[in-house]
Each structure stands twice: as C-alpha cells, then as structure tokens.
C-alpha cells in the first residue's frame, strides 16, 4: 500500500488544526482544532504502523487518545471556570498572566 494518501490527509488535517489554533479566538474552537491536530498525528501513526506491520504506532495512537481525553477534561473545566468569571470564552480576554 502507498502511504501517500494517508499522509496527505494527515497533513491537511494538521494544517487546518494549526491555522485554527492560531487564528480562532473562541476557546472551544481552539480546543477542537487541537484535537484535529492530535488526530492528524494519530492518522499518520496508524498509517505508518500499518505500512511497517508494526504495532508501535497503533499503541502510540492509543496513548495520544488517552492524553487528549485527559487534556479535554482538564481544559474544559478551566474553560468553564473562566467563562463563569468573565462571561466570555475568548482566549484574548484571559490575558492577565503577563509581564
């Protein structure tokens, strides 16, 4: 099998995610974009695992999912707290921790 298509898709997804993280202000959307990037990586891992007939890539994909899930739990909780305090989900409004 050729990995080109898989890798191309992964790159497209990763770029969409990266641009979203950089340009969007809504924290929920930023989170979703991060998930998108993580899943792009997962796709690449799984594709190469299949290519090399090696399970390592698949195992790492599971780890990434676990990490992503945990991160979402903590991240959304923080997001809720910020939203309650500021009535806003914009990442630009939470800018007090600075010089």
């Amino acid at each position: 099998m050729s990995p080109v298509h898989y890798v191309a898709l992964a790159v497209i997804l990763f770029v969409i995610g990266g641009v979203g993280v950089l340009v969007r202000r809504n924290a929920i959307v930023v989170f979703m974009c991060i998930e998108l990037m993580l899943n792009a990586c997962n796709l690449a891992f799984v594709a190469f695992a299949r290519l090399h007939a090696n399970l390592d890539g698949q195992v790492i994909a599971f780890f990434v999912m676990v990490v992503a899930a945990a991160e979402v739990v903590v991240g959304l909780a923080i997001l809720m707290a910020i939203y309650r305090a500021r009535r806003s989900a914009s990442v630009d409004d939470a800018n007090l921790l600075k010089y």
Partner: protein
Amino acid sequence: MTTLTAVADGAAGSAAHALAATLTTVPATGALKLSWLLLAFPLFGAVVLLIGGRRTDRWGHLLGCAMPLAAFAYGVIAFFTLLGDTDRSQDQHLYTYILVGHFQANVNLLVDQLSICFVLLITGVGSMIIIYSVGYMAHDRGRRRFFGYMNLFLAAMLLLVLADNYLVLYVGWEGVGLASYLLIGFWQERNSAAVAAKKAFVVNRVGDAGLTVAIFLMFSAFGTVSFTGVFHQVPSGGSGVATALGFLLLLGACGKSAQVPLQSWLLDAMEGPTPVSALIHAATMVTAGVYLLVRSNPILAVSEDAQIGIAIVGTVTLLFGGIIAAAKDDIKKSLAGSTMSQIGYMTLGAGLGPEGYVFSIALLLAHGFYKAGLFLGAGSVIHGMNDEQDMRRYGALARALPVTYVTFGLAYLAIAGIPPFSGFFVKDPIIEGDFTEHGAGGWILGICALIGAGLTAFYMTRMMYMTWWGKRRWAQDAHPHESPPVMTWPMIVLAVGSVGAGGFLIINDRLQNFLAPVVGVPPVEHGFFTVAGGVALLLALAGIALGWAMYGRVPVPETAPHGSPLTVAARNELYGNTINESLVMRPGQWLTRLSVYFDNRGVDGLVNSLAALVGGTSGRWRRIQTGFVRSYALSMFFGAVIVVALLLAVRL
C-alpha cells in the same frame, strides 16, 4: 677582676665568635620554677580591676600597687637565686602555644641575667611609679581604670622580657603597645590625647611590621623562632640573612624606642598622665627596642652592616632628641626629647657589638632611675602648679617644692654626666667605645656622641633654670605646693637610684660580669677616666655654662622669643611631623582617594554596568510575555518549524 679574666678566657676559647655568648638554656629549677608568678601578679591585678568595674573603685589602687610589689619581691628572690648560678639561663616551660608539623612555639619563660635585670627594673621602678600614681591620680575619676591599665602594661612588659622565643616576645611587644595606646589616650575626652594615642599606635605599627617580617624570615630561614634555635643557626646561615634580620629588628626597635625615623609619636605621647610618661615612655617600654637588639646580639655579631646601621640610627637620634629637648618649653615634651636622646645612646651602644652591649644595658638601667625621677619630679611640679606644663610659667620653684627640687636636681646631675653620679659612669664607656669600633666612621659617631653629651647638659641646665631657679613667672592663681608623701617617697627612692645606680653597676665591672654569659665581654678594658670621658665631661661643663649664660644670667621671657631658624625647627620637632605628613600621610591619602575612585568607577562601574545591561535587557524582553495565548501558540509554532527545519537540514 679574677672572675672577669676567667670568663674572658673561657669565651675566647670558643671558635670564631669569641666574644659573643651563645645562649644555652636548662630547665628551671627551685624558685625559678615559679617564674610565672611574675606575670600572674600584674595580670591578676589588671583582670580584677578592669573586669571588676566600679565595685573595685575604693580599694582598686591598693591592689594595683600590691601586685607590682609582689612581682618585685619575687623578682628579687629570682635574682639572688640566679646570682648563685651565674652562667646558666633557666627556662620554664608553661604550655605549647603553636604546634604545626615540625614547628613548635612554646610559651616558656626565660630567666637569665639579661631578663632578670629588666624584671627588676620594670617591677622596681614600676612599683615606685605606681605608688606615686596613688597621689597623682587621687582626684581622677578613672583612677581604678588607670591602675588596671598600668598592671596590664607590667604584665605585657614582663612577658616581653621573659619570652624565650620571638613569637611570645611579639605577644608582649604588642601587649605593651596596647597598654601604651590605652594610657596615652587615658584622658580620652581630650581630642589631643585621642589623636596622640592613635598616632603612637600607627607609628608603632610600622616598626612592628619590621619585627613581624623578621620573625617570618627566621621561620623560613631557620625553621624556628626560639632564641636558642635562631642563635645557634645564625652563624651558619650566612651574613645576608643576618643583615636582613638585623635591619628588620632595628626597624622594630625604631618604632618601639622612638628612634629616627619613627620618632614622631613619643613627643605626642606626653598627652598621657605623667606617671605613664615616666613608666612607659621613659623607663621601660621605650627601652624594649634596646632589649630586642641586645637580646639578638648573636645575630648582630654575624653582620657588621647591621651593627653600623644601628649605631648610625642611635647617633642620629641622640642628636635629634637633644636638639628638640633644648627648644621645647613644655617640660614633659622637653623630657621626652631627652628620653629619645638617651635611648639614642643605648641604641648606639647596641650597635657597637660586645664593646657596647653591657654599657647599653647599664645606661638603660641607670636611665630608668633618673629619667623616671625626672618625670615624677615634673609630674609633682605640674601637680602643684594647677596642671601648668609650660616652663616659661615656672621659675623659682625650688623653695616651694623642696623635696621635688632636691630629687630632680640629683637626677639632673646624673643625666648631665657629672661624676660621681650615674650618667658619668654609664655614658662615657659608650662614647669611648665609638672611637675604637667601626674604624674612621666610629670617630664621626664618637664626635656626635660627645656633642650629644654637651647638649644633654645644656638642655637639662636650661630646664633647671626655667623651672627651679631665676624669677617667678607663675600664673596669677598659682599656689605651688609640695606633693604629699605618697608622691615624694618614690621620688626619693628613685633619686637614690639615680645617684648610685651607675657607679654600682660599673665599678668592679659588676654588671659586666653578671651579663657576660648573655652578651659577652667587652674586648677592651676601659678605666673610669678615659680621654673621651674627659672630653665629654668638659663638654658637659660647657653645656652647663652655656645654659647658665642663656637662661640664668639673663631673665627668661614669659613668651618665647622668635629664636633662630634652628630653634624654630627644633620647636617644630625638626619637622618630623611635616616630613611624615608630606612623605607618607598625604601620598597615602591620595592613594586612598585614587583607590576609592578606581573602586567606584572602575570595579564597581564594570560590575554595575553589567548588572544594568542584564536588567535593562530583561526589562525589554519580558514584554514578550503578553498574556495572549495565541501569541504563545505562534511562538511555539515557529519553534516547531525551526526544529523540524533543523532536523531536515541535518538529515539531508
């Protein structure tokens, strides 16, 4: 006389340094095992008086007198013990002070003929002066403190002369420096006294540096600092080391004994109470330098250059001090100049080799009596004249203070060198010795010493006329009165000493035979009446006549006349202070200012500018932390891009 020849023969038999005795010691026995008592008595007095505080105010002065007397009593016992066993030096080990590898410094007390002479002088004259102080300081608020310091001084001075190595000697040396500092500045509320104390301390420090370096040199050259160790190794160590040691010790002696060029502190030291001037700055401490040189005679025996240096310093000082003494109107400062001059004679004696050591010590002992007597007499006058020290305000005091007058007069005859008083016996051998030692240069030294003898008689006659004879020039409210017996009796005792000490020590070569095991025997035997001695006597008479012509025949003006340039120079202490200020103090200040400037601008400038650079840069850089999470994301993105790019670049 038989003893003398026996000792001389014995000494002449031993190798090259026939006349220099080499110090060998044996452990102390009998009564001398208790020699630590000498230190313990005054130290105990000092500790009790200084720590006891006001509780000891009422009886403190009695303890202060009892302790030196007890030490003196023990000193007499030790002296007679030693007299029976003449050629041994007894060494009493107390404890080990420093033990590093092969180097060991013990606190040992060396009781030999030389140190016992000093012990008797210090405790004997010291006791007299301390008893006198009971009267002199009677109305002073700090009397207890005064007696505490005096006892501290005695303890330190005894440690200095009893030490059997240079390190412990140095402890005593610094101890007397401390006591001197405390006592010069005793009336600390006076600015002049505080300044004088500081000056004495600082000038002494210069000399102490010489002694310190000498001790370093002994350690590095011989690996030991004990007298016996150094003296045994010095002949094989070469004359270079011995010369260096001789000059370093001379520097130390110059500081402590106020010899040119470190003489400037002694005149200012007269700010202290008069008994202090008598004990520390006339009879004992200032002679410590002479003790150091005479004690180190085996070192000097190896180095002719060092001896010549010492003789020159002594000669310069004896003229220097005499000239100052002849111009000062303050009675104590005039006596201080005289002290410098007399110690100059002693130093000169120490520079003559075995020819002079014994006479140097004889002069030192006799001088201890008559100069202490003169100072105590001056103190008695000052006491009776409402603290007036200017001799131009004295005159015709002989009738008002008869006892002081007689004792002062006897000391005057002694110092002026009139036979049969002390000075005649002890000073002439030194003058005579100049002409036989050091070749043609010795003649110059001898002629200077002769001039000094005339000068001594002149300034002392001047002092007699201005103080005791002539017309009264007292202040309106002056009612001179004789001092109480507690002050006059010590003066009488010291006057007896000034009359008899010189003759007692010199006639039958008593001191010479006694000291022979330590300092050797003079190679040439002198009679009492030598040519040089005769000339010295004539010059002394001429000095007296000149004194009479200038201060007896014509009335002394109440205000000092302008005087010749020499007089003005002498009044200004021959510009010693000016020289010190312009050569040492001012350049020192400039150097300090330069270093401060360099420190502020250079060192601190470098460090501070570096700190400012880091601080400023950080201040700007922290602006990157905007708090906007997307800018952080962007920087992470760029970081990731760079990492990937680098990885790829490495791969390709």
